[in-house]
């Protein structure tokens, strides 16, 4: 149980995927203009990340490792992720048109999201067990969501604030992201491994 908690804290705060490991930066900058869309993106990513880390673990342990095909892990993981994303899109489209409207164009974005592949690969490198993989995937997604939602809330304020002209738009976004990253580095001493 402690291990599980540690994994969560480590992925959400200390080794936040976005702000510390700098994975998944494209949606972080691209989908953070609005709080609503950021929330939708977070939800979708959480779902896909958890599911794909499970699937990739299964593929690795029961297919690649026994057959001695470890060198195929990147290829097969991309396949797994693409399928999971596609499947999720279909299910969401059918079951919740509203969520689909929110996620719509972001779901395909997740396919090429490095955070998703990163989690799958890191799971293998860290030699996580099945349960740990789930925890790791979920924690990474929670960290991603936290950073994205915080950032989009800040950007919403910035959008209506009087920003000096040269800093308007992406520039002030980058500065904000940098400041947030600095802030998250403060968590580095929280857990000693």
């Amino acid at each position: 149980m402690t291990d599980f908690l540690l994994i969560l804290i480590s992925t959400v705060l200390v080794n936040n995927f976005v702000l510390v490991q700098f994975l998944g930066l494209c949606p972080f900058m691209g989908v953070s203009n609005k709080l609503e869309t950021a929330m939708g993106m977070s939800l979708a990513t959480t779902f896909v990340l958890t599911l794909s880390s499970v699937c990739s673990y299964l593929v690795y342990t029961y297919l690649l490792a026994p057959l001695d095909l470890v060198y195929l892990q990147t290829v097969s993981f991309i396949l797994v992720i693409a399928v999971v994303v596609q499947f999720t899109e279909m299910v969401v489209h059918k079951t919740s048109p509203l969520l689909y409207k929110v996620l719509g164009i972001f779901l395909p974005l997740i396919t090429t999201n490095c955070a998703v592949l990163g989690v799958a690969l890191l799971n293998i490198r860290k030699q996580n067990s099945f349960a740990e993989s789930i925890g790791y995937g979920f924690g990474a997604a929670a960290g991603f969501s936290l950073a994205l939602i915080l950032f989009s809330a800040i950007r919403e304020r910035i959008a209506i604030a009087e920003v000096p002209v040269p800093f308007r738009g992406a520039a002030i976004g980058m500065i904000t992201a940098g400041l947030m990253s600095l802030a998250f580095m403060g968590f580095a001493g929280l857990v000693k491994f």
């Binding site: 304020r157 959008a159 209506i160 604030a161 009087e162």
Partner: protein
């Protein structure tokens, strides 16, 4: 009983002493009274007087329309000299419909009578009586009072609160009223209490009006209903309805609800006095107390002014020094609106006029950036987040502003007062509110238009379906009729055959022929069937059968031919008989005209096409020439017809329409000429113009002749 507190609030300098030094006097009677027909919330009243009418003081001059509306009365006797758009005291500075009365100085009252004992009247009748006296809330909003008095019907009213707080700086009109007319106020409270039957009655008054408190206390002692006077500490905006309710009862009126939903009704002291006046003497609301104050006046004071008195009259009376005046404000310094012109009338909600000098109310310094200090949040009496609302209003994120309860803002101005950056916060909220209201209106309008569009679409479809159905029905009916006729004919034929009188008449002959044809047809088909059958079964004697069929066919054909010939012979003479020389001639003319018209339109289309396909100019010119000749022909033909028609003395209407059409053609060509892009086009169009004009003139002349 404890006095509670509300969140926020501010303590601006009161400035109330200046205007309470002299006793209340009547304002002079002005030469002209300008009375807006809308002085209240709701529908504008409808004028029932005409220009030139003589009116008496207190006479109804505009009647309420709808439930939320009040009547308007003549404040003095005189003559109605104008009913038109006049500038009215409103933040927009726009004009609205007003009745202008020239006073005769006689102040002749119309007949009016109070109620001997209002308790004898049914509540509804008493409320209608109050409604007929034009009483609307005098605190500032101007909500028709009778609507509030009806609240007892569907709400249980526990508490009646009389708002005497008058929290805004400078304003002392309610203070003066309480000092001079405490008995009337208490009398009015008794009337309201009779209607609403509250469990207890509270008067909320700020502690900066000791004389008014004393006057009210002595009046309450002799009152027939128990009234509690609650003195509240001076704090702006304790006079806000919701704030006063919280101060006195510690009940917070929920967002989006009205006080009556929590069992409370609030009335202003001015309103109660007006109700008393109306009930006891029958006098309608035609005057009110107005505070005239500000450093640009020699004698700040309170005046009892007639509704419709121009501000200039009042300001002059109070000794305005025009060179000192920098800004004229209607209402208090916090919530009032600056006026662009003093030529505006007093209305039922005008409680104060401030003529300020530049030192007294300096122009607002330029707004600085928001430093997010949070002072506005601490000052907000509605417990909103003014800073958030400011950002949302500024960034036009109106949906978010609404989610942050923008509509609970009472626009008291406390946030703007404390803002260290001098941001005009209330202006932002007002802007956002009116934008949201406008958006809602547009949405409603769009929904309405969509509903109407869809209804029309459905109607068109239904009509088309009905038409198709009718056509089908008609076809069926026709078929049935035909079948019936056939049957009858057959029957007749059979009868004729039976009686052996087949050649008795033409008709009978026809019928018999038809029957013969039918019989031979049946025979033929039978034979054919037999033949087919035989062929299938490869029986003997096919040859024979075939021969029979051929024979039968010729026979049946012969019979049919004979029948046809007979039918033709019988119908053609009728036709000739029917035709009529007169109608023929008529047809010829119309046909001619029609053909000509068609020719012209064909030419025109050709010309258009030629122009569109950009063939050489010569061809276009030729076509144009042809078009013109065709047009001319048509015109002459039309004229001829017209002449004929004139001879017959008919179709003036047709002529009129033609004249209008010709006129329209001229204007259209003119417009086209103006809009034409190339010189060539313009020249062409201009060349066409005289001709068209001529036609139009000719038609007009003809029309004139006939008329």
């Amino acid at each position: 009983m404890a006095v509670y507190s509300f969140h926020g609030g501010i303590h601006p300098p009161e400035n109330k002493l200046q205007s309470t030094q002299t006793p209340l006097v009547d304002a002079p009677l002005p030469r002209h009274l300008i009375i807006p027909v809308q002085q209240h919330i709701g529908m504008a009243a409808d004028p029932i007087v005409k220009i030139g009418d003589t009116v008496l003081k207190g006479q109804v001059i505009a009647e309420p329309i709808g439930r939320i509306s009040t009547a308007v009365h003549a404040p003095s006797s005189g003559r109605v000299i104008d009913i038109s758009q006049q500038p009215v005291p409103h933040a927009s500075g726009l004009e609205a419909e007003c009745i202008v009365i020239e006073t005769d100085g006689e102040e002749r009252w119309c007949e009016h009578e109070g109620l001997d004992d209002y308790k004898k009247l049914a509540p509804n009748e008493l409320i209608d009586f109050i409604r007929s006296k034009g009483i609307a809330g005098m605190g500032g909003a101007g909500f028709p009072t009778d609507v509030k008095l009806h609240l007892g019907d569907d709400h249980i009213v526990n508490t009646l609160i009389i708002n005497a707080a008058e929290c805004e700086p400078y304003i002392t009109s309610d203070d003066m009223l309480m000092r001079t007319c405490a008995d009337e106020i208490v009398g009015g409270i008794e009337v309201i209490a009779h209607l609403l039957k509250p469990h207890h009655i509270l008067i909320g008054i700020e502690d900066n009006k000791p004389e008014a408190i004393a006057a009210l206390s002595s009046a309450c002692k002799i009152s027939r209903v128990p009234i509690d006077i609650q003195v509240v500490p001076t704090k702006y905006p304790s006079g806000g309805e919701r704030q006063l309710i919280q101060l006195l009862t510690n009940i917070e009126v929920p967002s989006g609800k009205i006080p009556a939903d929590v069992g409370i009704v609030c009335q202003n002291v001015g309103t109660t006095a007006a109700i008393y006046e109306a009930v006891t003497t029958g006098q309608p609301l035609i005057s009110r107390i107005v505070t005239l104050t500000g450093a640009a006046l020699k004698q700040p004071q309170n005046l009892r002014a007639l509704i419709g008195t121009p501000f200039t009259t009042l300001l002059e009376f109070a000794g305005l020094e025009p060179d000192k005046l920098s800004k004229l404000v209607m209402g208090g310094p916090m919530m009032g609106v600056p006026l662009t012109s003093p030529h505006l009338p007093v209305i039922k909600t005008t409680n104060c006029l401030i003529a300020t000098t530049i030192e007294e109310m300096p122009p607002a310094p330029p707004a600085q950036a928001c430093i997010r200090c949070g002072l506005c949040e601490q000052a907000c009496p509605a417990q909103l987040l003014p800073q958030q609302l400011y950002w949302f209003s500024k960034g036009k994120e109106f949906e978010k502003a609404r989610q942050h309860n923008l509509f609970d803002c009472i626009e008291c101005g406390a946030c703007a007062y404390v803002c260290p950056s001098n941001i005009p916060l209330v202006q932002y909220y007002r802007f956002a509110k009116s934008e949201i209201r406008n958006e809602e209106l547009e949405q409603r309008r769009a929904d309405h238009a969509r509903a109407r569009f869809e209804a029309r679409q459905a109607r068109l479809e239904r009509e088309a379906a009905e038409k198709a159905e009718k056509r089908k029905q008609r076809a069926l009916e026709a078929a049935a009729a035909q079948a019936a006729r056939k049957k009858a004919e057959e029957k007749a034929a059979a009868e004729a055959a039976e009686s052996g009188e087949s050649n008795a008449s033409d008709d009978a002959a026809l019928k018999s022929l038809k029957v013969a044809a039918a019989v031979s047809r049946t025979k033929l088909s039978k034979a054919e069937k037999a033949l087919k059958n035989a062929r299938e079964k490869e029986l003997d004697g096919i040859d024979k059968l075939e021969a029979t069929v051929v024979e039968l066919k010729t026979k049946s054909d012969e019979a049919q031919a004979m029948y046809d010939a007979a039918v033709n012979a019988s119908t053609s003479p009728e036709k000739i008989a029917k035709s009529d020389a007169e109608s023929d001639a008529k047809k010829e003319i119309t046909l001619d005209l029609k053909a000509l018209k068609q020719q012209v339109s064909i030419m025109r289309t050709k010309l258009k096409k030629a122009k569109a396909s950009e063939v050489d100019a010569a061809e276009i010119l030729e076509l144009e020439a042809r078009l013109n000749t065709a047009q001319a022909e048509l015109n002459t033909a039309e004229e001829q017809q017209m002449a004929k028609a004139a001879a017959a003395g008919i179709d003036l209407k047709q002529l009129k329409i033609d004249a209008a059409l010709a006129k329209a053609a001229v204007t259209k060509t003119e417009r086209a000429a103006k809009a034409a892009e190339t010189d060539q086009e313009r020249e062409q169009l201009e060349a066409e113009l005289p001709q068209k004009r001529e036609t139009a003139e000719q038609l007009a002349q003809q029309l004139a002749r006939f008329e």
